[in-house]
Symmetry: C2
Subunit: 346 residues, 2 copies
């Protein structure tokens, strides 16, 4: 059933505050989760509220109020996230990057002791509001085989990039570096479907169309050796700069809530105004998007989309029609209402 965004927002802010976040951090945290739901990226939305709260109860996630941000040069920050809820930490860090990039032209932050930060695109999108180009990388538990290998040694290590436009919404790329998320395999398995042969390897390293075999095998990187390189770069930026755990040492965030995570993240932004007048930049981006949107569609396609366009359309619909909360999510919200003494409004 669908519920108005503001109803969900108000409820979740209360829960997060009771769970221990500072009020302004609770607002931010809910905003990140709702952004995911609105954009149709439900796997990073309110469906995981309870998982984060469980970690806070168990002490494997903190409220992120005392994170340590050291500025080590005009354009670099080193952050100890102290296991703070990822959305709180990442938003604070990107705020600092934005502030500093206004001065120095660019600013990048390396985060260790991090935990799951939800919708990766949210943080670069914060910087877009300040006329910046921004990126965010994170490493994640090992699910993907390196190109040419049989074993899952790399995370799906998402890469998020946002670039402002003028009359168009910003370009927002938000990709896992595997062909598909692990969830797509689980879903095919549950529904008894076969899968395309470029999604996953079986446990012996053979490409497979059998979802059951894929489920105990390894995901494949997108774009063969090129996507593998991107995935590995995301990993190195995330853990090797920060001293966080290597992908192979990262526990599953939702499935193993009692395990402390030391995820690495790397994010930052560059200030467009240091390169050219912002309006000129935006006009040039619009010009490219005009060209792309006017392209003849390929066979079987409805036409060219700008990265992030589908999510902008989803957001419009969700804002009008509300966000669909599943029975499972509603059950979680009810439990949290009881646990934290917050009125249940659904």
């Amino acid at each position: 059933m669908k519920y108005p965004v503001e109803q969900i927002r108000a409820f979740c802010e209360q829960v997060w505050t009771k769970a221990g976040l500072l009020p302004e951090d609770a607002k931010r945290c809910v905003d990140v989760l709702l952004a995911a739901d609105l954009r149709g990226q439900r796997t990073h939305g309110t469906t995981h509220m309870k998982d984060y709260c469980t970690r806070m109860e168990l002490g494997t996630a903190t409220n992120g109020a005392d994170i340590d941000i050291q500025q080590t040069s005009p354009s670099t920050l080193v952050v100890d996230a102290k296991h703070g809820v990822g959305m709180v930490v990442a938003a604070k860090v990107m705020e600092r990057c934005i502030q500093q990039a206004k001065v120095s032209g660019a600013c990048f932050a390396s985060i260790h002791n991090g935990c799951h930060y939800g919708l990766g695109a949210y943080y670069p999108m914060m910087a877009v509001e300040h006329d910046m180009i921004a990126v965010s990388f994170a490493n994640t538990p090992p699910l993907v085989a390196p190109f040419g290998g049989a074993d899952p040694l790399l995370g799906t290590n998402p890469i998020s990039v946002a670039i402002p436009a003028g009359k168009y919404p910003p370009l927002v790329m938000d990709i896992a570096t595997s062909v598909v998320a692990k969830g797509a395999i689980s879903l095919a398995l549950k529904e008894g479907r076969s899968i395309p042969d470029n999604w996953a390897l079986d446990k012996d390293g053979n490409p497979t169309t059998d979802a059951a075999a894929a489920n105990v095998g390894a995901l494949m990187p997108f774009g063969a050796h090129k996507g593998y390189a991107m995935e590995l770069i995301g990993s190195l930026l995330s853990f090797a700069l920060s001293g966080a755990d290597m992908d192979t040492d990262i526990p599953r965030f939702f499935e193993q809530p009692d395990k402390l995570t030391n995820v690495g993240q790397f994010m930052g932004c560059i200030d467009i105004s240091k390169f050219c007048p912002v309006e000129d930049f935006k006009a040039r981006v619009d010009g490219m998007f005009d060209v792309l949107k006017a392209c003849r569609p390929a066979a079987g396609s409805k036409g060219v989309m700008i990265p992030g366009e589908i999510e902008v359309n989803n957001t419009k619909v969700s804002l009008e029609e509300g966000i669909d909360l599943s029975e499972a999510t509603l059950k979680d919200l009810k439990e949290m209402a009881d646990t934290f003494g917050v009125p249940y409004t659904f």
Copy 2:
């Protein structure tokens, strides 16, 4: 036939100097071309010496001696390349980025009025020598259809990244954002071979295995919508920040030597020492590479390679055995020897 690297180097330096480059720029320029040949990336090597020289004769490329580099903030440079030979310009710009990143932690440069810069990976590899992580982007003539589109509107817009390691050679990613280069289609056509169905579209936007149909159609981006997003990001970073030409307005560099190019490039680096001790970083990268190299091979694979590993191996062989110069390249070199009054030594 194969020739010692130093023999080719000495000859080419003389030619470039006679063609109008300053002696130190001639050295650099040859080093970039030879790096491509050594690495087995012959399409960016000495085979194109004459094409660059032709442009210099025609006045559509300059010697790059008077490029304008403006530092606009602690971490940003704006560069008018003044149509200088790309290898000369890009190396000078990356040198400035490295110098400045040592101070400010990061430095990025936006280049307009650029021309073809050969081996994109060369410039990030310069920064690796200074314990930096570096990137380089460029936009190029339109050969690739955007994902979902039928027309070639985007360049193959290469992305180059280099990351230092300790006991291993650095990670070097140097990719076109199409599945294959246009040259792979031409070669299949010449040899009467069919092509895989994910390389290109015919002129009506249908995937095709017919090299002739592909040759008048459009290349496809690597990794479907994900690679398309990367390709578009590369384009925007290159032209929209700098005010260079959009991909659709860029002439073919080698085929249309009389057309001035206003290519855009974007490059820069971050200083690892501002995030952590460099030795710690390198040990962590080595740790990841150890894990990857120990991976069981996938079916049909000889094992996992580190991005850039093949090129390092090629370089070792070429340094020992010499570089293979084709009849066509030798003919070019002979012509240049005559034109510039340089002793022909091959």
